[in-house]
Assembly symmetry: C2
Homo-oligomer: 350 residues x 2
């Protein structure tokens, strides 16, 4: 049972290979009788088409390359899932490359030169494999201009961006603006913010949203309510302690990720400040664990699936030579859980 090919079929069915090809692809009319005969032989011989040979001639592979900086980072699987969803519907295939950035260079991803070589290799391999386009998934939104030269092949970035190419990134500013308005709608006016590191774009954009909400709703602007963390649990913990020690502490805190929110919860608990009765908390990222904490954290969910899907949509347009169009800045969604209440409220009547 050596590989059965189109010519084996042809022979056994007493037709030419051309006819078999026409039957297989419906490229031309074939008399029903012959057609049936061919199909039967295909069945009998258990023929499996060889896309490699096909691709060589057609110079189409229906395959795109996905380069993920690190698949083990929480946001990546959902993005890949979105990519797969589109790929599935459009009969495309995914060649996955995992740069394993965290395992290789730790969190030093700010220094592009540390891993340029990995990225270049990945692209070279993918191009050799004749992918029709590339999607690059970052580990953290940042400018990766100059990291990759896709040699004219279409490329779309997501969860990061470049100055020259298309990138799909959720709307950070709107997200924190929405979160603030939710808090304001609950009656809060002294709202603190614990941001991530300020050298990160999401931090700045989310701060913009915060500031815009403060301004539009004419909240008292108090610099003491602005804290800059480093995304880590400990920083959320310490900064919350500082906020609680203020003469006039905030009634709510917008925390720029769920991990720091855990730290914030811990600080509050230790200080005997009850959440949400005495302090409300909104997190960011909708990490899985935020649903398991006590209280469950109200947080902004990132449209990861959609980012993957949109990336593929855009890439497909690019491959077809069309102008990509669509919503390339999908919105985050607030997940209401149990860490927010109106200020001064009591869940249990006294």
């Amino acid at each position: 049972m050596g590989k059965v090919g189109i010519k084996d079929i042809a022979e056994r069915a007493n037709v030419s290979t051309a006819t078999v090809s026409y039957v297989l692809n419906g490229t031309r009319n074939v008399k029903p009788r012959t057609r049936e005969r061919v199909l039967k032989v295909i069945e009998e011989l258990n023929y499996t088409p060889n896309d490699i040979a096909k691709s060589l001639k057609s110079s189409r592979t229906n395959t795109i390359g996905v380069i993920a900086e690190d698949v083990t980072v929480f946001n990546v699987p959902e993005i890949i899932d979105g990519i797969n969803h589109y790929a599935d519907r459009n009969d495309m295939h995914i060649l996955l490359t995992n740069l394993r950035l965290h395992k290789r260079v730790g969190h030093q991803y700010a220094d592009v030169d540390q891993y340029r070589k990995y990225a270049e290799n990945a692209v070279a391999d993918l191009l050799s494999k004749q992918v029709e386009g590339i999607i690059y998934i970052g580990v953290h939104p940042r400018d990766v201009t100059g990291l990759i030269n896709s040699r004219g092949k279409p490329i779309v970035y997501t969860y990061c961006y470049t100055q020259n190419d298309l990138s799909i990134q959720y709307n950070d500013e709107q997200a924190s603006f929405d979160a603030m308005n939710y808090l304001i709608g609950k009656g809060h006016r002294r709202i603190a913010i614990i941001s991530g590191r300020m050298d990160s774009l999401p931090s700045r954009l989310r701060f913009n949203g915060f500031y815009k909400a403060v301004t539009e709703s004419e909240l008292p602007f108090d610099p003491q309510l602005i804290k800059v963390g480093d995304w880590g649990l400990q920083s959320g913990y310490e900064l919350t302690q500082q906020l609680l020690a203020l003469n006039e502490p905030p009634t709510a805190i917008l925390v720029m990720n769920d991990i720091m929110a855990v730290g914030a919860m811990r600080a509050a608990t230790e200080a005997g400040v009850r959440i949400p009765e005495e302090l409300s908390l909104v997190g960011f990222d909708n990490r899985e664990f935020s649903d398991y904490l006590n209280p469950r954290i109200t947080t902004m969910d990132l449209p990861l699936q959609q980012m993957g899907y949109s990336s593929m949509e855009a890439l497909s347009s690019l491959i077809k030579g069309e102008q990509p169009e669509g919503n390339y800045s999908p919105l985050c969604t607030l997940i209401e859980r149990d860490s927010v209440a109106s200020p001064g409220s009591r869940q249990t009547p006294s």
Copy 2:
């Protein structure tokens, strides 16, 4: 700038395409002078090899197919990471297919017929693409015999198994045995267990480990200490309440996943039972959140990375026609954190 091919190089360097090929692959000696000339032209023309054409002739693609039942399930990314690690070192490539099982059929994965069609399509596509082997990653360890016909291509299963093919699965029994001995070493003798659903193999294997430890250490065997949950938070919560209501409650509980352990913690907290002073808890899975809870959960870490890596090792052997050998039942590792103490201990001296 149309695609530059081997013949463009040949022409520009005044050699035959054969020579270029020999230079490119080092398949044969080429006079250094010619060699240099060819290399220079390759550089100038920015030549990108075409692996498709190469594969057609060599009938080797250096590509394997990975079918994941659902990439968004917590264990999968690490497994894929392990696969990538091996692939990277051995210059292999990954064609990723995501069945998206949870999104398509929910948690009905027990009924294989629900998604046989998806799996079959995936395999057919992969075979057409001429992958040299397949790795199948399940969402939950179970028998998937008959789901897939790989038509003679090597296939390795992980995080699930079949009766006929090789599968890589961590050692469940040993894991719970180890966890028990850890607890016993801390001085516990009344140890309860909250298992997952009993129609799941891991549940049974882990129960075996529990039972073996009870027997070997001659612990009192009390059926009241055996509770069967359903992997969900709520069941961990309720079963722990039952355990705490016993006349003689356990001093420690082995919980078969971290999610139920969260429920257990919650029940203990509400009952005013302090962890770990009055009740010790060991979880399973080392989910990310188990490090963020308070107290942090001591839990068994699954060797996911290694499962991916070993799967690739085994598959590679199979592809080469060798007999695969190696450790195909890697061990779990206990992650000591803060949810276990000796019974009757006090962290704070009274």
